[in-house]
Amino acid sequence: MIRIRRSSERGHANHGWRDSFYTFSFADYHDAAHMGFHSLRVINEDTIAPGRGFGAHAHRDMEIITYVLDGALAHKDSMGENHIIGPNEIQAMSAGTGIVHSEFNGSEERPVHLLQIWIEPAMEDVHPSYQQISFDPAERHGKFRLLASPHPGADGASAAIHQDARVYAAEVDPSHTLPASIKTGRAAWIQVARGSMAVNGQALNQGDAAAIEGETDLVFTGNGQGGAEFLFFDLP
């Protein structure tokens, strides 16, 4: 079964300095029907004005992945990590026993546009950690580029998270197809970051998402107008 979550149905908060769309309940947006999907708890699409951002705040027991679409995001945390991430990079943070961090637009001129993802960990009270992964955009072009998984290997090409989930980025060209499979008993979430596409014939536009359960074979097709960039979550 494939259920579509339209972009326009998401929660929305425009604070002037921050324009946010909430796929699942978050902050002042609460919808009991959209509290998350399996271990996926948050997908927020934020556009943050130049020089603005989130002051120091705390997290605990959460895997937090940030995927920047445009611009630069400056991160500073209680572990001493102080970084700027941009497109073709992800930041993955295991909050574990507790972290305090701030996130600000790293530019004084351009807005930053990003997706922030929270995945509930399989275990609590892990030691907090920070990872930043860069990749060549060609690695997601016409294929699935693994961003995070529980056992990413020693090459540092993807981030380790404390959940049996896999997060991929992919781009599909106009009128091209990209097949994928899901193991029986697992679920998938598709989040369109840019462009338009279809999953098993169901059209998705930027900001749309698809919740997939009980399916094993998927075909993604890029829309003829320009294809799409999307995130694929393989979830327990």
Binding site: G53, A56, R60, V100
Partner: protein, 168 residues
Amino acid sequence: MQDVNVVVVFQSRFGATEHLALAAAVGAVQGSALIRLRWLAEESGSDDPERPRMMREYVGPRETDANWAEAIVLAIPDRHASLTPEFQSYLDSLRQMHEQGKLAAKCAVVVTAGAASNRFREAVAAVGIEVLPAASGADSATAARLSGRALAEHVRATRGHQAKSNFV
């Protein structure tokens, strides 16, 4: 489940006491607290290189923060022999709140990098609220973290809160 609320008020010009404040905040989070971080700007630090960033990332402490909090972490730089005018003014505002009965049953801890903690602790105790002893640790950041945690756990133990939180 009722959370413990902890406000961390700090003064930092070059980032060292900010580091302690963050460590204390992490400790409070480890003690299952909700936290707020508040920065007291120093008038004399108007040219500090870290000032623009801190002005962007933090707001100053307000009365609503002290009302909200059940416990206060005060992270005080030890560059000075005594409290800065800004910190003294903040403690004066807390004293007024205490005299108005607004800080009843609240407690505090002082974290600092140097040997001045006892002196600062006495100054905070003069506000009238309970001041817990700071924890010791291998370094000042560890001590700050343990102090933040102990403060949150003390509040929970004395208020009868249950351990473990559901915040993220």
